[in-house]
Symmetry: C3
Subunit: 156 residues, 3 copies
């Protein structure tokens, strides 16, 4: 068992089957030592989005639930990353996360929501999980997801 | 005639003159084997944005029109890409598309709109056109465009 | 004194201490010859966001103030970049800027606001400062900042 797989196990995290794109795009593309991963919605490990994760921060979604949703997005990023490289021990660094928070125009507490994704990355990958990030509040997300996170990773 | 030019010809697509930036930025930058392309608005082949492509999904813009606008953005990306590499046969892969949909806060049907760009990429480039992608609904776009798409490509 | 430092001096620009992330992310990540910089808010050189830079374009923020805020974001990007490479003369190119403008849904004059960042980049870096860029209007930004700009640079 690789050390990252052991870590995931210790944390009680089971990576889901990566979401299959439903159109002419793919979950990830590798170019050189970079893996670029499509924006991941807050799907659960069963591949479905809970109704509790649909809606907007500042309206029906509380900051705590938003943070949990961001954590799910990060787990889905790791699932795509594992599909890309086979063994997560080959990950050199999480280079960047882009966080899109479905928010009403007055909800400025966006960073704590996105921390759900950033924290998960560091819990699993340690210092390799520390990344550059941009967090923005958006008008709407596909399927009314409350959070979407995209990622760029350097790999061996 | 290169094979991609032939394909464009078969599809009846004429690449426009790439939009000239009107400020201190450029249409694309090449770094190593990557070409990073500025967000392209849904300008027609005449370089102008049709009034029918101004506005928001979920209001005056229907999903079908939005999809056509996304297709135009993708054509403008290819025009920039051709300016960057000269010959589109040098394209190794469409690495990533970022889709920004000008949408009212309740319009969650964003992915089908963005498919207009993804489909065009695969129609023209085949499997090399399959990309990672992120799609978000935004509050507003420059010139009230209904769609903007940015791109990253690997080239020879 | 490096030539870029001299230029900053001539322009009367003092780079602030780069903003320290307050969570599990970092200001920048270097991968190969690329430096990816976290979205920078319009913090002043004292590291604080002026109340005058909180709010939305199209509401309490005028285009002129928004442009000044975008310029501050760009200065903060350069501060991060200097922390990444030590000497700004090692910068090969500003590859990409992503501009996020906190805007009401009817404010389509987004490009002139973002020019505040693009112009600063070219003032300081010359032709190396010309970049690909994407500009979008977003529903909200962290701390209600009126502008956030992220960056990608090629360095020696």
């Amino acid at each position: 068992m690789s050390s990252i797989d052991t870590k995931l196990n210790d944390l009680g995290i089971t990576l889901p089957t990566p979401a299959a794109p439903v159109a002419n795009y793919v979950g990830f593309v590798r170019t050189g030592n970079l893996v670029i991963i499509s924006g991941q919605l807050c799907l659960g490990t069963d591949g479905k989005m809970a109704d509790a994760h649909k809606g907007k921060l500042g309206a029906e979604i509380t900051p705590d639930v938003g943070q949990q949703a961001a954590r799910l997005c990060a787990i889905n990023l790791l699932a795509q990353l594992k599909a890309a490289v086979g063994d997560l021990d080959k990950v050199v660094r999480c280079v960047r996360l882009g966080g899109f928070i479905n928010a009403v125009p007055t909800f400025a507490g966006l960073a704590p929501v996105m921390n759900g994704a950033s924290d998960l990355m560091v819990e699993v990958l340690g210092d390799k999980g520390r990344h550059a990030r941009s967090t923005i509040g958006v008008a709407e997300l596909p399927l009314d997801a409350c959070v979407e996170v995209e990622g760029m990773f350097e790999v061996q």
